[in-house]
């Protein structure tokens, strides 16, 4: 399991584990074994799952991010929360920032809470920066209005636009099951034509955006879009050892589109033939290779 080999085996995790009590729950299906079904008792549905528990065994926080850095951020947050609950006023501001960082407070909640805290100018700047990702907790139309009320630098404004774009992308996916992504593809194509494209390839909405445009480029035999979308997505697929066949297919598809484009440049009116050739290339890569010889 990747989590075990890449995260839980590291020296960083060993260092982290000294400040908590690491408990390993293994579901075995061995009859009569104590605590064998704790996964379901704690409300989880799949493996692997991670959570922080208090000394009574109560689940206090589900751990979503699967990295030691993420584990530590949650542990720090829980430590600050405990201090605040114990009446330690000095922990209130760091706890507020930790809440914002972990997304444990929404945009409106943060705006209300900040009124109760006395922040320095530097902390106010930090608050504004931390508020930007929370725009995603608002409905898109409300977020656009709220954005107008924020005093942001040019860089922060660009970051906020990317947050709104991620929300917009996710909104377009609401009909995905009904139309197999047709409306989303059309909407993303329009965004691309307007020059509005997401840039952070670590964000899921960005990956979905480019991946659907890649599919659309293939369906429409759109060389320009295919080159751009595949340029974005190829390095992503390259990280997945199981995607080798898909990469091969997409590379071949792109080459075929380029070839069709070259043929068009020769002045032949062969639109229909071009599409047929493209489909053949998908189904039979060897045959396609023969054509090039």
């Amino acid at each position: 399991m990747q989590l075990e080999s890449r995260v839980l085996s590291t020296d960083d995790f060993k260092a982290f584990s000294k400040n908590v009590v690491p408990y390993l729950s293994v579901m075995t299906h061995i009859e009569g074994r104590k605590d064998d079904d704790l996964l379901t008792v704690y409300g989880f549905r799949g493996f692997p799952s991670l959570a922080f528990l208090d000394a009574e065994g109560n689940k206090i926080k589900v751990q979503a991010e699967r990295s030691v850095k993420g584990f530590q951020a949650t542990a720090d947050y829980l430590g600050l929360k405990a201090k605040v609950e114990a009446g330690d006023k000095s922990a209130a501001i760091p706890y507020f920032f930790a809440q914002m960082k972990l997304g444990d407070i929404d945009f409106k909640g943060a705006q209300e809470k900040v009124k109760t805290l006395k922040l320095s100018d530097e902390q106010m700047a930090q608050y504004t920066e931390a508020l930007i990702p929370l725009l995603a907790t608002l409905p898109l139309d409300v977020a656009k209005i709220e954005l107008k009320g924020l005093k942001l630098s040019e860089k922060q404004h660009a970051k906020a636009q990317q947050v709104l774009m991620s929300s917009e992308i996710m909104n377009h996916l609401k009909t995905f099951r009904q139309d197999r992504g047709a409306a989303a593809k059309a909407a993303f194509y329009k965004m691309w034509k307007e020059g509005r494209t997401p840039t952070d390839m670590d964000q899921r909405p960005t990956l979905i955006f480019w991946d659907l445009l890649l599919r659309k480029a293939g369906e429409d035999s759109d060389l320009e879009l295919m080159e751009i979308a595949w340029g974005k997505m190829r390095p992503v697929y390259k990280k997945n050892p199981r995607a080798a066949r898909f990469i091969e297919q997409q590379d071949a598809k792109l080459e075929q589109l380029k070839k069709n484009g070259d043929d068009d440049d020769d002045g032949h009116d062969d639109d229909d033939d071009g599409d047929d050739d493209h489909d053949d290339g998908d189904d039979d890569h060897d045959k396609d290779g023969d054509k090039h010889k």
Binding site: M1, E4, S5, L8, S9, F13, K14, S17, K18, N19, V20, V21, P22, Y23, L24, S25, V26, M27, T28, H29, I30, E31, K34, D35, L38, L39, Y42, F44, F47, P48, S49, L50, A51, F52, L53, D54, A55, E56, G57, I60, Q63, F71, A75, L78
Partner: protein, 76 residues
């Protein structure tokens, strides 16, 4: 949905049951898989506690929180 398709779906668990039963590992195999799992290097290196009551007692004594990892050994 056509009747034959409905019947097919209804009968599927019955038809597949013997095959599924045959694939289910024995209790000895499950115990072996568990022992193999907890003998993996990362378990010892991370100092994992395998008993929840013990983990809770340590957390109480040392004023710490428990970091719980849920996994399985019944499938290889």
């Amino acid at each position: 949905m056509k009747l034959d398709k409905q019947l097919g779906l209804l009968l599927m668990p019955v038809l597949l049951a013997p095959a599924l039963m045959a694939q289910r590992p024995s209790q000895d195999e499950l115990k072996e898989r568990y022992e193999k799992k907890i003998a993996e290097d990362w378990v010892e290196k991370g100092g994992w506690i395998l008993d929840l009551d013990k983990a809770k007692a340590i957390a109480k004594k040392e004023k710490k929180i428990v970091f719980a990892y849920f996994t399985r050994s019944y499938t290889p």
